[in-house]
Symmetry: C2
Subunit: 474 residues, 2 copies
Amino acid sequence: MSEIIPVILAGGQGTRLWPMSRSARPKQFIPLLGALSLFQQTLLRVADRARYGAPIILTHADYRFLVAEQALEVGVALGAILLEPVSRNTAVAIAAAAETALAQDADAVLNVLPSDHAIADDADYHGAVTTAAAAARDGWLVTFGITPDRPETGYGYIALGTEVNTQVRKVGRFVEKPDLDGAQAMLGQGGYVWNSGMFMFSAAVFLAECERLAVDTKRAAHTAVHKAKRDLDFVRLDEEAFATAPNISVDYAIFERTDKAAVLSVSFGWSDLGAWNAVWQALTPDAAGNVSVGPSLLSNTTNCLVVTDNAHVVVEGLDDVAVIATEDAIFVGRLSQAQRVGALAKSLKEDAKTQGLTDVHKTAYRPWGGYASVLLGERFQVKRLFVKPGKKLSLQKHHHRSEHWVVVSGTAEVTVDGKITVLSENQSIYLPLGCTHRLANPGKILLEVVEVQTGSYLGEDDIIRIEDEFGRAG
Amino acid sequence: MSEIIPVILAGGQGTRLWPMSRSARPKQFIPLLGALSLFQQTLLRVADRARYGAPIILTHADYRFLVAEQALEVGVALGAILLEPVSRNTAVAIAAAAETALAQDADAVLNVLPSDHAIADDADYHGAVTTAAAAARDGWLVTFGITPDRPETGYGYIALGTEVNTQVRKVGRFVEKPDLDGAQAMLGQGGYVWNSGMFMFSAAVFLAECERLAVDTKRAAHTAVHKAKRDLDFVRLDEEAFATAPNISVDYAIFERTDKAAVLSVSFGWSDLGAWNAVWQALTPDAAGNVSVGPSLLSNTTNCLVVTDNAHVVVEGLDDVAVIATEDAIFVGRLSQAQRVGALAKSLKEDAKTQGLTDVHKTAYRPWGGYASVLLGERFQVKRLFVKPGKKLSLQKHHHRSEHWVVVSGTAEVTVDGKITVLSENQSIYLPLGCTHRLANPGKILLEVVEVQTGSYLGEDDIIRIEDEFGRAG
């Protein structure tokens, strides 16, 4: 039997989970539930190669190293990493994944799943996939519908249509996110499920429906894949072709138009973690209705969510409040109206003074490790650098700053103007302004370096890369 | 005419303004209202030497450098700085100040005032002091009563008694903090004022009443002053004598017992800033009832207080909430019940894991400048040190750590095992484990140094002081 190929959507921005989720490292790449990121949990869900083929990842170029490293961390080998050159919503992205799968296997069945959802039990998921795959092989475009257990207003609904078989029914119609009355009516009446955004279909059938119902999308995807460029482990979809695609979701482009749309009702625990109240629910509130992650003290408090990176959070006398605390930004607001965070994050992004708070975390991750700015003065900055075993930074120089490196853990191999020095813990080196230099970790453990920069301009863009093993030079 | 000597009470802990107020730098020493600390605002209020003599400061030994430096910063010369060796409440502390003043001027009139209150208009205050001083010279122990403008439950009240003169009346009786019904009744009925904790009296009359009504307090104060030791600019009250005093407030010990107690009703803007809701009120809420200090964005929010050191705080959809954010601790709670912070801070202090959050700020101030820990790893720590012009740290060594110093601003004179090196911006030096070393600022501008410590133990107590100009060696 042909393989089931997971297609994992990992290009989202997750603005409604600000300030934890930021453009440079959004929701799916942070450990929101447990020690692993949602993306890693998604990878592991479909990691059994007896059931699933190697996954195709759809993401943005900015996230390519996060994708590759997080997969490596959990030991999952990826199929293709497709980089969307511009944002064009899900229709063309999924079509590009289907083109990629089809090129290898004419009978490929795709399991499209977002990388930022929570599913309570992977075994239940596998069972649903097996059922859906059978219908997909019969030519149906199957969507997973979650049987509702409450009048949720945060999800779209699907009305169940006539029977395809005992478990799968045709889609009756799609219903936009309802108000509370509407949600209660659907829950009372029955015959409605939540639209989960998870799909199964044959790549060939899907692309045939694209050709019929969304020809611009189909052609853009086809050309973008066939003119794509390989870049290390990544497939850069052709920008010119991809950009011609309409900016439209796969629901609107295909599922609402085709007569092949079917829905498999499932009742496993599922959440789109779409806002902080959904995270609160997924984390199982205690008897007082509270959830807290990180150091905290809650007193006379009910139905609250506290998530904190580092600072100790003390909450007193509140009900229905979310407190989300990061090093440089804190959100405090009505938990039941947490979807409003999206609009607030947008307004912060539009103001140059606060834009950084929505773009980057204080710690930035790079293919070689990462860094955090720990102290910023008028004419100096202190950074913590961490370099993974065997990795090296680019050979670089700066026009406006000199640097001191102090090794605080591990071993560093430092190249300064061609001369190589090996430093161990507690040794330091000075890098005068204008010198070419490179930092590498030749050892077997993490290298940690405290970098003290001094100069008139300390921006990240004062880096002239002379050589780079991650293709960032020149 | 004899001088009016301000006696400023600056030994309080201010736990109800946690997390901004901490044991090592409490409420009166932080800039809560404007750029100056409340203590500095208090010093300036009574700085006119045509009206007031040099102030006597009552404080704890731990705060002596804060007192001296904050006075220096605003250019106010102090009279005596009396250090309370143990906490024994206000009766004995004020008696010690009276003994000190009396030794210099038999007719001294004291103006006792807390260092952590807000007063809207200093001119109104001077007018009240003039009136009160006349009554004090006539032998009255005068307390300032604030005419209430709302049914406040956070203050004690004084019932006005018979007339002393047109402006001053005898104290009828003292009323403990009332419930709301009681407060409303007193406001409606009239004849009640808030007990402000500010006093005026002749030192001689006060001490005579102490001799009569609180002889243990009187004798403890007398001996503690006459056996006191001078230590630099400070007067260390004799611990043995001071500790024999009953732990009692001046209200209970004297004012509630004497028949010389009088009250001057005033109606200037005043607050004891006793909890965050009092701070909110003192800072003048905007039309929506909000006050925010520090970077913040408030949306759909009313009657809230946001105070943040550094992190950007976003509040959405809340009413009557305080958000107080420091680097390492955040309080979020019902603003109108902000007095509960005191109990919460106490419970944090009782837990070894969180005690530090109530004791110290991330930045510690020292006579020579100060330091902040900016990064703490397993076996390393990065600190920012700042040294004032002309100041030097103690000559010291460490058993468990070596250090790198990188000068990022100003000029450093570094002594290592007897050898002196002068470093300017962008130069660094290594201090091997066990070396004796000293850091000094020989220049005219602030010296800033990034210190990278490496070692197996990085606690503040691994400092062997060999020489110290602030009396901390040996």
